[in-house]
Symmetry: C3
Subunit: 214 residues, 3 copies
Amino acid sequence: MTEQQVVTELHRTLVLCLDLGGTFAFALSGAMVGIRRRLDLFGVLLLAYAASTAGGVGRDVMIDTVPPVALRDWRYLAVSVAAGGLAFFCTGVVKKLRDPVRVMDAVGLAFFAVAGTQKALLYGAGPLGAALLGMMTGIGGGIVRDVLVREIPAVLRSEFYAIAALAGAACVVAGGLLRVPVLASAVVGGVVCFGLRMIGIRRGWQLPVAGTPH
Amino acid sequence: MTEQQVVTELHRTLVLCLDLGGTFAFALSGAMVGIRRRLDLFGVLLLAYAASTAGGVGRDVMIDTVPPVALRDWRYLAVSVAAGGLAFFCTGVVKKLRDPVRVMDAVGLAFFAVAGTQKALLYGAGPLGAALLGMMTGIGGGIVRDVLVREIPAVLRSEFYAIAALAGAACVVAGGLLRVPVLASAVVGGVVCFGLRMIGIRRGWQLPVAGTPH
Amino acid sequence: MTEQQVVTELHRTLVLCLDLGGTFAFALSGAMVGIRRRLDLFGVLLLAYAASTAGGVGRDVMIDTVPPVALRDWRYLAVSVAAGGLAFFCTGVVKKLRDPVRVMDAVGLAFFAVAGTQKALLYGAGPLGAALLGMMTGIGGGIVRDVLVREIPAVLRSEFYAIAALAGAACVVAGGLLRVPVLASAVVGGVVCFGLRMIGIRRGWQLPVAGTPH
């Protein structure tokens, strides 16, 4: 293999690992929401699967790598079912994590925002497209999860949610433009995204709200 | 035509018939939901069309046969409008079927799960991908129908819904691996899916619910 | 350039202008909905962006021009953010337009229905497919906007909404079949769509509602 091929191969492996990490985190968050809503076992697993794959499926459709990897590769299904089953049968343990839906959601957001941006770059999207696709990969699963249980998506209500995903994605795009090694820009992007989101939650940072129309 | 071409042609015809059958059933279910919600004529037709095409459109996008057949082929629109109009103008007759939304929904689920799996196999999806795409083709229309009228999708609440679609799809995939004639595996898959769903409704089978998180 | 190339180039430019006009209108409508729901700044911008791009993204996915232009071309994002920011910071001004969400929505509907149909024709969709894709481009953004804030989409409730989009799209398709210049058929289609929608609102035209099932 040439050096370029090795780099591309590493890039692919990185995307896979990030994707599976995000899948686990979002599947946990989806399952916890399903349990709260008292869905049965299969409903919980399905919500876990939907929350953990919707973002990546949307990304894959938009960069035309179909069928989406989450449907082709058994590991996505396995990770999602494992996380969903864990949440279902060990609800007590999972609950010990403080405010687990939100934390898991922030972890998934960071993993997916970075993975989505990296994959979009790998398949030739431009800088703007890659950043937007990364953001959408990050926020897509949570939107689908919330719409399915008839909640207004967290991303529309929460301080520093989509903006955290966009910041993380922008770091990865900047890293790509500056030819920083992909692992380094992935770490920076992920930390920025997770950090912004968690600080937003902790400090209750709020963006302004417009004066009510009269 | 060679024998292989004849088989492929039969396969395509089978997918078309199943697709149109599912379209009719889901269009009826969508129209009944729209009538219950007191939508006007065009709203009823639109909900019928959305319920009957969303699953197949999603499948076609994910196997990259675009524009989706439901948009290209006038028969899908015609069947959908016919079913919607029937439900709208002959509401009394349609209601004589016991619990018609659920029964039509189960019929559509079976037709679409089988058609979706067959078409995914025809276009080269692997066994896992084909089974998942078949399940999604089956459940997609009902999810969109329910989200549009702001209900939590039946698939998340109902005993043996998605699992019935997955079982039917798995039969078709197994039939493909064992080289069973496609018509035979379609019949078996459809009967398994419809049977599981109806038995689930009749007997009130429930999957377990996790202990409420405290 | 040959004459054919000049025509195609004009066609593309027309689609771009219509697309950006529709983007501005739907972004305003999405932002107004977000402000009413008291979303914060980023939530308002995100809802504006979702409302203004969802229809076109769906169209682009279905005619396989991916990544969707709304993600690739910075002008879509810029127009959407500008409209969202305008609505957010100048709420009073925007409100002076009578019933602004509905009017902006009708403008966006007309622009997108025409642009969607034109682009679908440009990429080789047949007459039926182009008309349906045009309708979906028009109504998609409003559906996503309403689902995200948990309202039943206006398109299912409002008199002459989707039907206006379909009528506008049909004019464009008819113009294409009759070899009318694209600009002319765009103007006619847009006026028909906007006109039908506004007349429907003003006069309170209602389509019939089915007798309640008993």
